[in-house]
């Protein structure tokens, strides 16, 4: 059984449809990568699951249960964590408070989980008392991912975690995604940096204009000439 399965999802904002019936899946303990040009609907897929875009048709299954249109706190309680691309930290709250907010649904034993996040993102240790809005982009991304990990999710959904980051931070973030995945967490990764993302992924989905264009193992997509020419920049 897939960890996450999306069937024929039609979703959008207001009267506009962005996704015109896409299929996706994340297998337990694996990384699925969504790539594609701007406006393909990559981010919308994640937003629709969390109710930030409206689902018109299709369904979303998590461990076999239908979770279509469920409220966000129910999804989080089931073990789905989501890191939006922008505005993904509470800017006026300290780093520690951001992490505590990630654990809102399970307040006990927070210290141990903060310690686990520190192990994953050591640069945050000395920033715990600083307001998250004062951090650099890369560190903010670490806070956002740390916040999402506080409930020890089964599935982590990341929306372009390396957007706007320097190459150094970009490598760090990809490296951390691998580490998180190796601890057993399934990952659904939306990325602009398609080559690097496919290099760490197991399954790849190429979306274009709200539809599935290519679906294959990430390794195969990387060597697929058609995919390379159209979507990976040659």
């Amino acid at each position: 059984m897939s960890l996450l399965q999306i069937d024929k999802l039609v979703a959008g904002y207001g009267a506009v449809d962005i996704l015109n019936g896409i299929d996706l899946a994340v297998e337990p303990g694996k990384i699925s990568v969504i790539v594609g040009p701007n406006g393909a609907g990559k981010s919308t897929a994640l937003k629709a699951i969390f109710g930030l875009a409206q689902i018109r048709e299709g369904r979303v299954l998590f461990q076999g249960d239908d979770i279509t249109r469920q409220p966000a706190d129910r999804l989080v309680a089931r073990g789905i964590a989501y890191v939006p691309q922008e505005r993904n930290v509470f800017r006026s709250l300290s780093v520690r408070e951001n992490l505590e907010m990630g654990a809102f649904l399970k307040p006990g034993d927070i210290a141990r989980r903060i310690e686990a996040v520190m192990g994953l993102f050591p640069p945050l240790r000395e920033k715990l008392k600083q307001a998250a809005g004062e951090l650099s982009g890369g560190q903010r991304q670490m806070v956002a991912m740390g916040r999402a990990l506080m409930l020890e999710p089964k599935l982590l959904m990341l929306d372009e975690p390396t957007a706007g980051l320097s190459p150094l931070y970009m490598d760090q973030i990809f490296d951390r995604v691998i580490a998180i995945n190796q601890s057993g967490v399934g990952v659904l990764l939306v990325e602009q940096n398609a080559k690097q993302a496919l290099a760490i992924g197991h399954v790849g989905y190429v979306l274009a204009t709200g539809r599935n264009r290519f679906t294959d193992s990430a390794a195969n997509l990387l060597v697929n000439r058609e995919v390379a020419e159209s979507f990976l920049g040659g």
Binding site: F50, G51, L52, A72, D73, V76, A77, Y82, P84, R87, N88, V89, F90, R91, S92, L93, E97, E100, M101, G102, F104, L105, P107, R147, A148, L151
Partner: protein, 298 residues
């Protein structure tokens, strides 16, 4: 010129007391705007309601208004929760202006209900006359001390709540970014309920203080609305500590503006006090719309 003692006893101390009362009202306006993104026009009438609920206990059971304060605060908070459920929650996903208009309606209903139940006449708590305590040239009424101390205690309690408790931090998180709060698993409706409890509770305390300080009448909330919003805007909307500073500043400005600074006559006639609050608000909106504490622009 008047003596320094008169300046302190007749202008500075009353300004401080009025400022405390404004602060208690403005905190709720600021918190509610931060969480629910709308200007709550019925907030002055929350204060009126608090002032009248206390009358139930002072008039019928001969309680002192201070003794009635806790139960008044709880009662007003409960009414606020009911009003939210009935008139604001259905508009949670509508444009902000819809809820603003709804709060206008709630304001009129509250005032009419108060007039219906308690009548339209001015009322007092019948605390009797207490002579002020004299400390050298200072003459301080006991009620002034109580009002300032209780306000300070409430503000400290609010600070501890916002900075130390899980729910208080969640309140700041929702104020920061409601969507992110939701996807983090924060129960936003629970946060909204506590915002009402705190905002209305503090407003009720402020209302009772007005009754202790002067008198109670059905239109008092309406008269308070302008200084309350001026205080919230001055402090930076969505910033509860800013609202405290803004409330104190507006209260002091209003009282000190009537001091005979340049002649034997009051600098500004007392009847124009509301204009002082209005002027401060307008200047602030032009000069620095995010307020002293860098809140949100209206």
């Amino acid at each position: 010129m008047i003596a320094l003692s008169d300046f302190i006893n007749l202008y500075l101390l009353p300004g401080l007391v009025v400022g405390c009362i404004y602060a208690l009202g403005a905190i709720g306006i600021s918190l509610l705007f931060g969480i629910l993104r709308f200007a709550h026009f019925a907030h002055g009438d929350m204060m009126t309601l608090g002032a009248y609920l206390a009358i139930i206990f002072t008039a019928n059971f001969d309680w002192s208004p201070y003794a009635a304060l806790p139960i008044t605060v709880i009662g007003t908070a409960l009414v606020a929760l009911l009003l939210d459920r009935a008139f604001y929650k259905p508009f949670r996903r509508s444009a902000g202006i819809v809820t603003v208009i709804a709060s206008f309606g709630v304001m009129l209903m509250l005032r009419s209900a108060i007039q219906l139940i308690w009548g339209v006449d001015v009322k007092t708590y019948d605390i009797g006359i207490r002579f002020p305590m004299e400390f050298g040239m200072l003459k301080i009424a006991p009620r002034q001390v109580t009002i300032v101390l209780v306000t300070a205690a409430l503000v400290i309690a609010l600070h501890l709540f916002l900075s130390r408790t899980r729910l208080g931090k969640a309140m700041r998180a929702v104020s920061d970014d409601p969507d992110l709060a939701r996807v983090s698993g924060i129960n936003v409706e629970q946060v909204v309920r506590w915002t009402w409890i705190i905002g209305a509770g503090l407003a009720a305390a402020g209302g009772v203080f007005i009754g202790i300080q002067t008198k109670v009448h059905p239109n008092m909330g309406w008269d308070l609305l302008l200084p309350l919003f001026a205080a919230a805007v001055l402090g930076g909307i969505g910033r509860p500590y800013g609202a405290v500073a803004g409330g104190l500043a507006i209260g002091l400005c209003q009282e000190l503006a009537t001091y005979p600074w340049f002649s034997e006559e009051p600098f500004i006639a007392p009847g124009y006090k509301p204009a002082v609050a209005f002027s401060v608000m307008v200047i602030m909106l032009i000069w620095r719309p995010t307020g002293l504490f860098r809140g949100r622009a209206f």
